[in-house]
Amino acid sequence: MGTVEYIQHHLTNNSVGEGFWTFHLDTIAVSVLLGALIVVTAMRLGKQLETDTPGGFQNFVESILDFVSVNVRDAFPGHNPLIAPLALTIFLWVWLMNFMDLIPVDLFPYLFQLVTGDSHAYLKIVPTTDLNTTLAMSLTVFVLIVFYNFKIKGGWGYAKMFLFHPFGKFLVPVNIIMTLIEEVSKPLSLALRLFGNLFAGELVFLLIALIGGTLAVGAAALFWAPLQVLLDLAWLIFHLLVITLQAFIFMVLTIVYLGMAHEEAH
């Protein structure tokens, strides 16, 4: 199997359906499983909540909650009970989905191929390297942005933002185009940033995985195999930072965008 085939194979989703009605089964399954993991863990924790003497895990979860609520308080003016759970969901879910990137790239595809008996079965276990996932989240956020813009500013207030922002009343056509670009770029940049980072990260993992496998033949493996392990470890540690940072950025930008939507028209 050549290098190009190897990489392409790894970056293809296991899907059913045709055209638009294609479903990426691996993306859906992994992301739903991770969501379920959050819910089940939360429910199990909820049964043994301690007000006065929180245990280790409750402390850990509380510190995450605290972290999220501090960010919401800093970046979000006013009060909306939806924002904090939304931010928490984004942070936890995105982080977990990103974390799938740190699992050795060949492990799950290999196991999956063993189980299904199909040596060419596709499996891509990082849902955030699927644009559908990141765009789904950013579009949901976008819907909320539009909804709250209408709710807080009112229809006319929202329209005024398009007409007179940022250059005042003498450049209305330019204003409309500028604001439109600005608004549309919000969900797009959210989705593409996360997708791009994780996709690139996955690609680097794949390239590192190729070092020991395809390049090394015979005695040369003695040199290439340790190098692969070393590089893999280095990239893994760096990537651990990246996945956390990306989850954090997605969360903070969501809070900020929704905060902007909550500002009164002026």
């Binding site: 294609t22 909540l49 509380e62 909650l65 996932t133 579009l139």
Partner: protein
């Protein structure tokens, strides 16, 4: 990259997850944390209040103690005064009693003395009469010589 119906599934999954997270994670836990915060601040203010009250109570106790001490001092002084008064009184009374007893004893003695003297006079008179009888060898009429006898008795 191909955008397809997976997007719709993921949107639904995302919204459901937000709902679930709010229901089972954010809701209960943030309420718990708020409760705890409230309890802690309540506890701290209660402690502060308790400290203040303790201070007040201590001050009050000090005052009461001081008052009690002065009162005790007063009572002690009064008692001492009263004691010495009683002693003085008793002394006076005792002296009076002693005087009285002495006076009555003296009176009794004088009475006794005068009684004895009377007795003695009578005795002496009769002795004198009987002596005179013996000397004169005849009866002396007591009635006739009564005046003489009276003078005699008185002179003794």
């Amino acid at each position: 990259m191909n955008i397809n119906a997976t997007l719709l599934i993921q949107m639904i999954a995302f919204m459901l997850l937000i709902w679930f997270v709010n229901k089972v994670l954010w809701g209960p836990l943030s309420k718990l944390m708020e409760d705890r915060q409230k309890r802690i601040s309540d506890g701290l203010s209660a402690a502060e209040k308790g400290k203040h009250e303790l201070e007040l109570a201590e001050n009050k106790a000090k005052e009461v103690l001081k008052e009690a001490k002065t009162q005790a001092q007063n009572i002690l002084g009064q008692a001492e005064k009263r004691g010495s008064e009683i002693v003085e009184d008793a002394k006076v009374k005792a002296t009076e009693e002693a005087g009285r007893i002495k006076a009555s004893a003296q009176a009794e003695i004088e009475q006794e003395v005068s009684r004895a003297r009377e007795e003695l006079r009578k005795e002496v008179a009769s002795i004198a009469v009987s002596g005179a009888e013996k000397i004169l060898g005849k009866e002396i009429d007591a009635a006739t010589h009564n005046d003489m006898l009276e003078t005699l008795v008185k002179s003794i």
